[in-house]
Subunit: 416 residues, 2 copies
């Protein structure tokens, strides 16, 4: 992490920006600035240099940290999320500086803890509020609605994560000698997981939907007009049949509806063949994707109550809260949003799709709250980018368009 | 495995028996015989030299394959199941031979595949029927009803195992970008596991109990008089509260009622912290403990139908049958059973408990079918032996009593 932060500082300094990697209680935050001209607007460009774990390594076609280009795509961990996308903005500013003057003051803010919930960035924003003051925030950490389709995302889901450990006997037991009389923690954990959804695919935690606003009619219309077909989503995911909450399209389920997703589950014998144990414990990792007005802490409290209520007899629970962040929503018709739409149309040659994204950038609400300015989500990642998964990739074309988009965006924000 | 079989052959040869390790399609079968005197009865002594995997290694107090004695117990993988128990019989015969003549002809049959369902022993019994002809079969591969309490087990549960792989997307997906619209294989697997039991702890597979005989009134009485208390079972297992099928005591649940037990479950991220993936697949390993008249193949077929019927939309199943074996039942009042009870009472100084065991020795029904003789299950393992688990152990006292029991048993069988 330290080496990556230092590489960024060196890159920015060679471009002529004032840059530093500032320590935090976690990973350093990289800040780089052009000289601040009070006559110009200021644009803050945010990204992150941390990545998800690369496991399972055996499912990568080429090693995750030796990037290679195949069929016009760069493969490697972080290719899209977020090293490739933020680098396009860096190179856009580098080109503009080489060609003359920047149309706006630029502040780069690149953190190293996005994938673990931007733990220390909130405090950093508070304490650097003046230095980071700006008129708009530009972020490319989202996916395009369809391949080559310019996309301005006006909403992102929030997130809340927790881990549940289900404890049973003091040790693994012989499933013959004890089986039938001692509660099985794996079965208990499975029953808890099964209790999370009802038969309609809705999250069955009491109160989970209380704060959820219904989608506005114009949003449901926009979702219908989405360039993203169910077939395309199924093909990208590699499934024959989609699934999910009854009454919503796939685009709506992903962008506008909250979920409860199991990210990992383990317990008992994991090797080849059979081992007839009654396991001592099991665990599962659950993440909730949230929509506006759902609060992570409130959702985690509801989930705790749900698991306690549904906990089978004979086992005990240990629940640990993980990271969380609120959902994000920005009216795409305000001036900065319109400037972003113009830049996208200029570079990509067609009107951008306005979409809700399923992913989470928890710090976005912090940006709006602390800096008080609109955050613009300009997608460069391919829908097939495999972020967080093996064979993560980024189209070289998107990388080059991203460089042009940065320049167009800064110009349009200067003018509009 | 080969080295262990060869060690046994060497040991038997030094005792003066004719011994060999006969290859099979799997692990070798060790056969050792005293010269066959047609005037004497013949007793076959069965055991196994294979053991369960020793994982998880970090939960052992001392290394599983470096046996040590602590507080009067030998700790090590196989200490009870089954190396310690079969060795007591071997040393009993060795002592008797050193003291003079054996009261019966002895055939040792020690296999290396008991823990994986005695795959090749059935064929071996068929092809060696004449060589193995006997009047009774003695086996010490079960646990005593209570510490120091002589125990003749008259029933054992059968077993049927299978592994279910639940397949979803072609790769791990970002749980934000796809979550809500793509079925989660871990959640689906958990729902399948949860579907295995009803609210009363009964197995919910259609037809599962059709062949199950109700317990006879004398058996329910014997279970009530069992020296095994619920408190003792809970203490051994290290749980505060027992659980299981409504309407039965813990002893009945373990010995006389069938189960569906999850031995292992895995899917998605297994490491520290969180990784927000929607996993590509999940698996679980299930074993069914069976009672008389339940047939492993029939139960596995019912389980397949159950899982297919309950399979959530958007995932597919791959089911693999594992090993299986029928339950065992022997009337303990027939002559060989009475001889065994006399030997137990002589050595332990009190009347033996007649119990049903929860574990499985799948080959037992093969023995009875092929050799046509009663199999006597003379428990030497402690109730706290931790078979199949870390810190497996065997009391030194039981080992010494086992040597005496072997000699008394052969004498009683010769006379009765």
């Amino acid at each position: 992490m330290q080496r990556c932060a230092e590489w960024l500082v060196g890159k920015f300094e060679r471009m002529g920006l004032e840059a530093r990697a500032e320590p935090t209680a976690g990973c350093p935050v990289v800040v780089a600035k052009s000289p601040r001209d009070p006559a110009k607007k200021t644009v803050l460009i945010y990204g992150h240099y941390d990545v998800q774990p690369a496991e399972p390594l055996n499912l990568w076609t080429s090693p995750p940290f030796d990037p290679v280009i195949r069929s016009g795509r760069i493969f490697g961990r972080g290719a899209s999320d977020n090293k490739g996308q933020i680098l396009a903005h860096i190179l856009g500013v580098e080109e503009a500086l080489a060609e003359g003057e920047l149309p706006v003051n630029v502040v780069f803010l690149i953190e190293g803890e996005e994938e673990i919930g931007s733990k220390h960035l909130g405090t950093f924003l508070e304490t650097h509020r003046e230095e980071l003051a700006c008129d708009a925030i530009a972020i490319s950490d989202t996916g395009m609605a369809a391949e080559g389709y310019p996309t301005l995302s006006y909403a992102l889901r929030g997130i809340a994560t927790m881990e549940v450990r289900v404890k049973g006997p003091a040790m693994d037991l012989h499933s013959g000698i004890y089986g039938g009389a001692v509660a099985n923690p794996v079965t208990a954990a499975a029953r808890l997981v099964a209790s999370l959804h009802d038969a309609n695919g809705r999250v069955a935690i009491e109160g989970f939907y209380d704060a959820v606003q219904p989608m506005a009619p114009w949003e449901r219309e926009a979702a219908k007009e989405s360039p993203v077909s169910d077939e395309a989503i199924a093909a990208q995911a590699g499934v024959k049949v989609l699934a999910g909450e009854a009454g919503y399209s796939a685009v709506e389920r992903i962008g506008a509806r909250p979920t409860a997703e199991i990210n990992g589950f383990g317990g008992g014998y994991q090797g080849e063949g059979s081992k007839t144990v009654l396991p001592a414990e099991a665990f599962f990792k659950v993440s909730f994707r949230l929509v506006p007005d759902q609060h992570p802490d409130a959702v985690l409290a509801m989930a705790r109550r749900h698991f306690e209520k549904h906990c089978p007899a004979g086992v005990t629970l240990e629940m640990t809260d993980g990271h969380g962040g609120e959902a994000f929503f920005l009216d795409p018709m305000q001036p900065a949003g319109k400037a972003a739409q113009r830049a996208l149309e200029e570079v990509f040659g067609k009107k951008p799709a306005l979409t809700r994204e399923g992913g989470s950038i928890p710090i976005l609400t912090e940006f709006q709250r602390t800096l008080g300015q609109p955050a613009l989500l300009l997608a460069l990642a391919s829908p097939d980018c495999r972020a967080h998964a093996p064979d993560e990739n980024f189209p070289v074309e998107n990388f080059l368009l991203g460089i042009r988009l940065n320049k167009a965006l800064l110009r349009e924000l200067a003018n509009g």
